[in-house]
Amino acid sequence: MPLLDVENVSRRFGGLVALDKVAFSVSAGQIKSIIGPNGAGKTTLLNVVSGLLSADTGRIQFRDSRIDGLKSHQIAQGGMSRTFQNPSLFLQMSVLENVMVGRHPRTRCGFAACCLRLPGQIREERRIRESALEHLRFVGLEGMAGAPAGALGFGERRMVELARALATEPSLLLLDEPASGLNNRETADLGELIRRIRERGITTLLVEHDMSLVMDISDDILVLHNGTPLAEGAPAVIQNNEEVIRVYLGTGLEDAAASQKS
C-alpha cells in the first residue's frame, strides 16, 4: 500500500487543462521527484495534493484515507506538509515563532487553557519552543532564532520554511522547487539535508528543475508534460527515455548548465 496514491486526477482552469488524468503513487521512505517543462502542471499537482486547490475529478489517498475534498489544515494535521517555490513565511514574526507555528497540529490546547496560562499549558509552550529550536538546529539556523523572518535572505527563508514544515512532524513532505534561487554549494547542502530527512523516516515528494540534484537523490521520477504523465521510473531509466529527452531533458540539461554558469 503506497503512502500517497493519486488516481486519475484532473484539474482545469477555465479552458486550460492543467492536469489531465494524472496517476502516480509514492511509497513510504522514498524520495520521489516530479519533473517537467514549465507549465507542465507540477505546482498545480502539489497544490491539489496539499488541498490548496480542489481536483475536478479523481481520488487522492494518503495513509489509507481519502484526502481529496479535505481542507488544507486537515491534510496538514493528517501528516502532510509542504514548502513553496517562494518561501511563504510569517514575515512579521520571528524565525523561532515561524517554526513554533509549525507545531500547531501536534499540540492540543483549548482557548481557555491558553489564555489562563495553566501550568500544563506553560509546559506545553516550553516543549513547543524546544522542538522548534531543534528543527532550526537541523536546518542550521539556530543562531537566527530571534531574528524577524522578514530580515532573512532568500536561502535562509527557504530553510526556515523547511524547518516549519518539519516541525509539523509530517510523514510526507512536499517540496516545491527547493533549489531554485540557491547557489551550487547551497544546492549540494540541500541534497544532503533531504537525505537526512529521509533517515528520519520522512517520505519526500519533490518538484525540481535542477537535474543534477534530482538525478542524485531521487529513487523514482515522474515526468509531467502538458498535465499528463509522460514517463515514470528510476533516474537511469528516465535519463535514457527518448521521449523525455525530446520534450524536456535535452533543453533542461542545457538550462541547468546555463544557470550554473551564471
Binding site: K71, A76, S88, F90, F111, C114, Q121, E125
Partner: protein
C-alpha cells in the same frame, strides 16, 4: 482653576474618550487582520455590551452583569461571523464590508425594539457621579480611572495573548500569511470566528465601563465605529497596538478642539484628521506602505 489644571482636565477627558476609541480600533484591527474585512458593526458591540449589562444589572450584581454581557456579546460576535461571513468566503471583501454596514443598521433596529430610545446607564463602578478624585488640581471622576485601568489591562492582556500563547500565535500567523497558516494545520475559519468573538468581547467591555460616563443608548454605536475606524487608520491597519496611539491621539485632539472651537466642530476634527492621514500617509503612523497589512479591498 488655573490654566494648568484646565489643560489637565481637557487632557484627561481626551484620554478617557480616546481609550474607548482605542478599544474600538483594536476590535477593527483584530477582525481586519484575520479576515481582511473592516467591520463597521464594531460600534454596535459597544452599544450591545452597555445595553445588556444595564438590563442584567436590574437583577444581578454589577460585576456579574458586566461579565455576562461581555460573554453574551462575544457569542453574538461569533454567531454573526458564522452566519454571515463563513459561508461567504468566495464573495469579495467589499461585499463583506457592506454586509457589516447592514448588520450595524439591523442591530440598531433590533436594539430599538428590544429596549427603547431611552438613554440608560450603569451605576458608577465605585463612588457616584458627584465623587471626584483630585489629580494635580484637576478633578477626575473615579469612573475615568476605571475606564483607563480597564483599557490598560485589556491592551496588556491582548498583547500577551497574541505574543505568548499558542492560539495568539496562530492568529498572528493567519493574519500574516493565511495559506502558510493553513498548511501548518491551523483552522483559519475558526480563527476568523475567534477574531469576531474577541473583538465583540472587547467592544462590550468598553461599552460597560464607559456607560456611567457617556450613557448608553441604541444609537451610540455608529459614531463610535467611525471614530474607532479613524483611530485604526491613524495608527495603521494591521497593528492592534498602534490603534492605541491612534485612539488616544484622536481623543485628545478632540478634547482640545472643544476648548478652541465651537462644540459643533467636535466630530469635524476626528474626520479632518482621518482625511489628512489618508491623503498624506494612507498606511498610518506605524504601518508600512508595502506591508502585508495592506490588503486588496
Amino acid at each position: 482653576m488655573g490654566d494648568d489644571s484646565l489643560f489637565l482636565q481637557y487632557l484627561l477627558s481626551g484620554i478617557t474618550k480616546g481609550s474607548i476609541y482605542a478599544v474600538v480600533a483594536i476590535g477593527f484591527n483584530l477582525i481586519y487582520s484575520a479576515t481582511g474585512v473592516l467591520n463597521f458593526a464594531q460600534g454596535e458591540f459597544v452599544m450591545l455590551g452597555g445595553m445588556i449589562a444595564v438590563t442584567l444589572c436590574a437583577f444581578l450584581p454589577l460585576p456579574v452583569a458586566v461579565a455576562a454581557a461581555v460573554v453574551i456579546v462575544a457569542l453574538t460576535g461569533c454567531l454573526l461571523e458564522i452566519l454571515f461571513f463563513r459561508k461567504l468566503r468566495h464573495h469579495t471583501i467589499m461585499h463583506m464590508i457592506i454586509i457589516t454596514i447592514g448588520l450595524s443598521i439591523v442591530i440598531q433596529e433590533v436594539a430599538l425594539h428590544l429596549w427603547d430610545e431611552k438613554v440608560r446607564s450603569l451605576p458608577y463602578f465605585s463612588g457616584s457621579e458627584v465623587s471626584s478624585i483630585r489629580i494635580f488640581g484637576a478633578s477626575v471622576s473615579p469612573q475615568v480611572l476605571w475606564v483607563l485601568g480597564t483599557v490598560a489591562v485589556v491592551v496588556v492582556l491582548l498583547h500577551a495573548f497574541l505574543r505568548y500563547t499558542l492560539q495568539g500565535r496562530a492568529m498572528r500567523a493567519c493574519s500574516s500569511n493565511p495559506d502558510a497558516a493553513m498548511l501548518s494545520g491551523i483552522n483559519i475559519s475558526n480563527m476568523r470566528t475567534l477574531s469576531f468573538g474577541l473583538s465583540a468581547a472587547l467592544g462590550a467591555l468598553a461599552g460597560c465601563v464607559i456607560s456611567p460616563i457617556t450613557m448608553t443608548h441604541y444609537e451610540m454605536g455608529a459614531p463610535l465605529a467611525i471614530k474607532g475606524f479613524a483611530a485604526a487608520i491613524l495608527g495603521g491597519l494591521g497593528n492592534p497596538m498602534a490603534s492605541v496611539v491612534g485612539g488616544l491621539l484622536i481623543g485628545v485632539i478632540e478634547a482640545f478642539s472643544v476648548s478652541k472651537l465651537p462644540a459643533a466642530y467636535n466630530d469635524v476634527t476626528a474626520f479632518a484628521l482621518l482625511l489628512l492621514m489618508l491623503f498624506v500617509r494612507p498606511h498610518g503612523l506605524f504601518g508600512s506602505p508595502s506591508g502585508e497589512s495592506v490588503r486588496e479591498v
